[in-house]
Amino acid sequence: MESGKNQHFYRKLHSLLGIIPVGVFMTVHLCVNYSATYGIDSYNKAADFMVNLPFKYFLELFIIFIPLLFHGVYGIFIARQAKNNVTRYGFFRNWKFFLQRITGLIAFAFIIWHIWETKIQVEFNGIEANYNLMADIVDNGISLALYIIGIVSCIYHFVNGIWTFLITWGITVSPKSQKVTQYIAIGLFIALSFIGIRAILAFA
């Protein structure tokens, strides 16, 4: 897995793919979901547009599934290498490091469940991708709670991933720039969490 000499390439690719395309896709996805707050018809129209995109399978494969699978599997390998020590070193950024790994694992499980309940059912069981599909899934409190946890975990992982991406690629070098991007990441976390949670509550 680590491929000796190529670690540098794989780690930087892993970091990049988390933002482009996976994180960007997630942001678009959350915004499409948000149309549910405008009403059932608005959501169905937006979902219809996404489902009927030309070259959909090609786009899904290269913009979603291949990068997501690589990022997820390699990410679990990276997470397993850490020996978390937040109890001994309770620094803010060490907590973020710890949460990045925890939310990554939650996101991995959540996305498998989410794909199973939506994508797989639509493609193989002939269920239509519309408002009712989601409304049925989050019909009960437990599923809704799990969805909110999953969505917030994905958002945290993405925004903190932007912060680490900027360091990993050598863009933010100075402590000052790392601090500024930290504030931007916090702002983005609040904004995306608002969009994501408000959207899922529109189905409940």
């Binding site: 000499k5 670690q7 540098h8 930087k12 290498q81 620094f91 690629w169 050598g170 863009i171």
Partner: protein, 249 residues
């Protein structure tokens, strides 16, 4: 005369490299201006534990006693730091002392730091200046660069940053922050820069730079206040550029 003041020490000990660690408590007579080293020397003088039993003296390593050699690193009250600069008057009692267990523990508080010295060899943390003839004085270093490079040169390979790093452990072969920062130091030197590429290629392999997970504990615990995370981020930039050069030429 008032009552005799004592220092309460709880020390994590180990008989040898193979045996399991255990703790032993000591009550050491207090004198003013003591540090951890002088407290351990008291145990050496009179190896009797808090229960009054005769025991073996606690083993540790120290050399300079002024926080420049890096040999006396220990975990003192949960924080990795130098025993010589840890003053008793500034510590909460009982004082917990443990070895830097990220490294192989040889005995008591004595650890084997050769992992770091091997890493310095791997990343070529030196400047080759020898020739068969006089190579002359070499290029000058800009004063602005010298100022921050001097800060990096304060690294004493004490290992505190590796102890605090969650990615330095038996499951990973990450070389840790200290050797990485040395790459930045030697790459910044005008003569050292002639071998910049070799050092960058060395840290682009397994267990190198990208094993960093940005927990940034290293910069929090460094006893010399070295901007380790700035070094790591700067090397991330250097290696990004290097990898583009490697591929595109």
């Amino acid at each position: 005369m008032g009552t005799e003041k004592t220092i309460h020490l709880i020390i994590t000990r180990q008989k040898d490299a193979q045996s399991a660690p255990y703790t032993e408590e000591f009550m050491v007579p207090y004198r003013s201006n003591m540090n951890i080293i002088s407290s351990l020397m008291e145990i050496q003088k009179n190896p009797v534990n808090a229960k009054g039993e005769k025991t073996t003296p606690v083993i540790w390593e120290s050399v300079c006693l002024e926080e420049v050699c890096g040999a006396c690193s220990m975990v003192i009250n949960g924080k990795p730091r130098q025993a010589c600069s840890s003053l008793i008057d500034q510590l909460d009692q009982p004082i917990h002392i443990a070895p830097l267990a990220t490294f192989p523990v040889m005995r008591d508080l004595m650890i084997d730091r050769s992992w770091m010295f091997n890493a310095l060899k791997k990343v070529k943390a030196w400047i080759p200046i020898d020739g068969t003839h006089d190579l002359g004085p070499g290029p000058r270093m800009p004063e602005k660069t010298r100022q921050w490079a001097y800060e990096l040169s304060k690294c004493m390979t004490c290992g505190c940053c590796l102890e605090a790093c969650p990615n330095v452990n038996e499951k990973s072969n990450f070389i840790g922050p200290a050797p990485l920062s040395q790459v930045r130091l030697f790459n910044a030197h005008p003569t050292g820069a002639m071998h910049k590429e070799e050092r960058l290629l060395a840290i682009m392999g397994e267990g190198g730079l990208t094993s960093c997970g940005n927990s940034q504990n290293c910069v929090e615990v460094c006893p010399k206040g070295i901007p380790l995370t700035t070094s790591i981020a700067d090397l991330n930039r250097q290696t990004t550029i290097q990898s583009l050069k490697n591929f595109f030429g």
